[in-house]
């Protein structure tokens, strides 16, 4: 996993805008909690092989939960709406947004990826590739590669699929490696790796600070050149 700090930073950047009028410290804390929750499946790793990046890191649950949320929040007498009002509805949707597009998607592009279609299909997928226009190669797209098997003549689709739950272990601080070696265990808690992860940390922090410095739109806005600190 890119560290929870990186997930948190990108989630904060997204949440500042999408929470809109419900943005406050409490709402932000809930979003940050939602974005780290999937790491709980690391704990299942002690009794279930390859549970980390499988149980809570897949695209099946977001789709199912998204459908359920749509039905629940749109129906007459919605429980979430009655209990928590418009704020609750906003929170669950922003929560689903950061869970899917920030946490699960970033992990998909990291190391061995995620068990994308679990529990429908037990197969890890890694999102990696490039998109480019080249004067010698034309349009280049290597995220999903479709080729023809030279022996059987059948089509082969390579979308970055790797092993299954049984043979894929994504290292994490709780279980640094699949087969423990004798001697002291080096548990590594990455904060940021590579420039871009540090960049996301700074950008998330920047958005939070900038949001704090901003003033609300005055009621008589657009009435001329009155001074207003932004």
């Amino acid at each position: 996993m890119p560290s929870s700090v990186v997930h948190g930073a990108l989630a904060a950047l997204v949440a500042v805008g999408l929470l809109g009028r419900f943005y406050d410290r409490r709402a932000l804390s809930i979003v940050l909690l939602i974005v780290v929750v999937p790491e709980v499946d690391t704990a299942f790793g002690w009794f279930m092989d390859g549970a980390h990046r499988t149980v809570l890191h897949n695209m099946v649950f977001p789709v199912v939960i998204g459908g359920l949320l749509y039905w629940e929040t749109a129906r007459e007498g919605s429980w979430i709406r009655t209990r928590w009002g418009a704020r609750g509805v906003r929170m669950v949707w922003v929560g689903l947004f950061v869970h899917t597009l920030v946490h699960i998607s970033l992990d998909w592009a990291h190391l061995s990826g995620i068990n994308l279609l679990w529990p429908l299909e037990d197969r890890f997928f890694t999102l990696d590739g490039e998109l480019a226009l080249s004067t010698t190669e034309g349009f280049v797209q290597t995220f999903v590669e479709i080729s023809r098997d030279p022996e059987t003549g059948g089509g082969v689709v390579d979308a970055g699929q790797g092993g299954t739950r049984a043979d894929t272990h994504v290292p994490n601080p709780a279980e640094p490696s699949d087969e423990p070696e004798p001697g002291p265990v080096d548990r590594r808690f990455p904060i940021a790796v590579n420039g871009w992860q540090l960049y996301l940390l700074f950008t998330g922090a920047f958005a939070l600070v900038a949001k704090r410095l901003q003033t609300a739109r005055p009621p008589e806005a657009d009435g001329g050149g009155r001074k207003e600190r932004q």
């Binding site: 990108l10 950047l13 997204v14 500042v16 805008g17 999408l18 929470l19 809109g20 009028r21 418009a86 906003r90 947004f97 597009l101 998607s105 970033l106 998909w108 592009a109 990291h110 999102l127 990696d128 590739g129 490039e130 998109l131 480019a132 226009l133 080249s134 004067t135 190669e137 995220f143 002291p184 080096d186 548990r187 590594r188 808690f189 990455p190 904060i191 790796v193 590579n194 420039g195 871009w196 960049y199 700074f202 950008t203 920047f206 958005a207 900038a210 949001k211 901003q214 609300a216 739109r217 005055p218 806005a221 657009d222 001329g224 050149g225 009155r226 001074k227 207003e228 600190r229 932004q230």
Partner: protein
Amino acid sequence: MPPTLLNVAAGTLLGVALLGAAFDRRSIAVVALVAALPDLDAVLGPVGIGAANATLHSVFLPIGAAALLYYDTAYGDRSWLADRYGWYGVRVAWVAVAAYAVAGIAPDLFSPESAAFLYPLSDRYYAVTGGFLLSTQEGIVQTYVGVGDGWIELATPGTIETHHVDTWIDPAGEERRLRLVESGWQAVLVVTAAVAVPVKGLVERGDRAALGGR
């Protein structure tokens, strides 16, 4: 330089985060476009003005713009910008300046491809790359900057004389390659930004209706 599409995605995310009540189709387009501007120095380089990732990747440009903006909006009785474009214009201008620095320059600085962000004071390219982790065996490991006795050191691939930044306008070899997305995480950011814009549109519409149809 990292793909300009990545700068646009970062600018879009920043705009969604900070435009607030000034968010609309026009303002988000302006902010996304401003995030792409620094990469135009790839065009200026071959015609003899500065070099790619240097001329417009200078941190002094957004600092100067911010100073002008601050002067106009905070000193004196009237503000030219607020007179002309109102609260909306002032907010969009501040977010655009932030997008130029944070989404236009910084992604290049935080990548191995580097940016000469102190140009023209220094024509050296700098890159902030490395790692930062806590290890139970080695303690805190930090390799982004070298810390010496009272100074810090950044990785640098050279100066504008010695280091050529490969762009599709001025390629190192025969092939011109316009890179759109280089890796998985960049694809994730581009998709996240693309989804965030319509979602923010819905959010703003809901908030405006709730706050009394402004």
